[in-house]
């Protein structure tokens, strides 16, 4: 089978043997792919110009797997960018890794989402350019949830359609959105959320840093509910954001 070429971002690498790695890569036109990368750790390798690294963007050539749950083969990797600015602070670095973890957990292999690829690239570019972390990450998380069919309803109550006028306001992952005070009793699974966030989003106004954080809390909660567990990078990211700024 001939190799396919595509644009790609490296999401995850694990050692397979002395000289090969298993790479989880998000491609623009082929979605998530899991590939065996042979010889990448040898400095003399001709096929791969430099060792693969996490969160690099580049051009890839690969032979897809013949069956589900099997590995394809990476035949070429041309590194184009490492988004090196995101490696200058732990908060940005972990935000990038968190996005990589979510992308690899919530996408199916060979199920392309070109628009999501662009969003991931944009997030990494924003982190590279030292933009504030949480607004950029929140907008990527919204795009990801939208791409996999879980776009949350955050502008008004998902049951009655009204903008909540009073506290308390809840969010339910199962219901897929905001619950107002009058509708919240219909759902057992829910968390409190900031009513001002709903108002801001309904008016289409930009978020303050505090509300960007509140939005990220809601999206993290929804993602953890979908996955049935908290993503592993979430805790490190939270510590870094607290220490080095959001």
């Amino acid at each position: 089978m001939p190799a396919i070429t595509d644009r790609a971002i490296v999401l995850r690498l694990s050692d397979y043997s002395e000289t090969s790695q298993i790479a989880t890569i998000f491609t623009r036109a082929h979605g998530l792919v899991r590939l065996i990368a042979k010889g990448v750790k040898r400095s003399t390798s001709k096929r791969v110009n430099v060792g693969l690294d996490l969160l690099e963007g580049g051009e890839i050539a690969f032979v897809p797997s013949k069956a589900a749950a099997m590995l394809g083969v990476l035949t070429e990797w041309r590194q184009l960018t490492t988004f090196s600015g995101l490696r200058t602070a732990l908060s940005r670095l972990y935000a990038g890794l968190y996005a990589a973890e979510l992308t690899s957990l919530l996408n199916e292999e060979y199920d392309p989402h070109a628009e999501l690829f662009e969003e991931l690239e944009e997030l990494l570019r924003d982190l590279d350019a030292q933009q504030p972390v949480e607004p950029a990450l929140a907008s990527f998380q919204l795009a990801l949830l939208g791409a996999i069919g879980y776009a949350p309803m955050l502008e008004h109550c998902i049951i009655c359609g009204h903008t909540p006028r009073s506290e308390p306001v809840y969010f339910s992952a199962r219901a897929g959105g905001v619950l107002c005070r009058d509708c919240e009793m219909h759902q057992i699974e829910k968390v409190r959320m900031d009513r001002r966030l709903v108002g801001r989003l309904a008016e289409g106004r930009s978020l303050t840093p505090e509300l960007s954080h509140a939005l990220r809390d809601v999206l993290d909660y929804q993602i953890s509910q979908i996955l049935g567990r908290r993503p592993v990078v979430a805790a490190s990211l939270e510590i870094a954001l607290r220490a080095t700024g959001r």
Partner: protein, 201 residues
């Protein structure tokens, strides 16, 4: 070859050898048959050497390099500059740096790097011991020689942040263009790193 029934101990040896890095089924058989016909003393010497590395080699109490005593040969060498500590990910990196003959200081081996996606956190490395070493005093420079990978960078950033309050200067190995490479063929990442890391000439 695999159809042939081998006797128990020989078959076991082949299986054990096959688990070694870089040893395939063919090589495992070749080594096993070589050991079978080799002299008894020579074979037992190999066995006792293997047992020695498990019983006598241990991490250095100060730097976590491989050692045969409480301290490794570098930490116990009075000619080494104890005020400069070069921080590496693994003993193999130390050996390669040591081979340059450039390093007058001593080392600290982290025993890995931070890898959140694989569940490796700072607490799994020897970072706490490094901080204790710096707090104990007598150190003027920490040279971070972690790999120039994302996880090596994460590890370096984490160490820099935990050492910040000690006030000890932290430096990092230069990165960018490899000697013998050319600008024409260098990729953007290498050129960016090289430009950012330029120095007075």
């Amino acid at each position: 070859m695999s159809d042939v029934r081998l006797t128990g101990p020989l078959q076991r040896l082949i299986e054990e050898l096959r688990r070694l890095p870089g040893v395939g089924p063919r090589s495992a058989e070749r080594i096993a048959f070589h050991l079978l016909k080799t002299g008894r003393d020579e074979a037992l010497m190999l066995a006792s050497t293997i047992s020695d590395i498990k019983e006598k080699v241990r991490p250095c109490a100060r730097c976590f390099n491989l050692a045969e005593a409480e301290l490794c040969h570098i930490c116990s060498d009075p000619r080494r500059n104890q005020s400069q500590v070069v921080v590496v990910e693994q003993p193999k990196d130390l050996i390669n740096l040591e081979a340059t003959g450039l390093i007058a200081g001593v080392y600290h081996v982290l025993m890995g790097h931070i890898s959140p996606l694989e569940g490796i956190e700072p607490a799994h490395l020897t970072i706490d011991a490094l901080v204790d070493r710096v707090r104990a005093g007598g150190i003027d420079e920490i040279v971070l020689a972690t790999n120039p990978t994302l996880e090596g960078d994460a590890t370096a950033l984490h160490i820099t942040s935990v050492l910040h309050e000690t006030g000890v200067p932290v430096t990092r190995l230069a990165r960018g263009l490899a000697p013998g490479s050319s600008i024409e063929y260098a990729n953007r990442a290498m050129l960016e790193e090289a430009f950012r890391g330029r120095r007075k000439y």
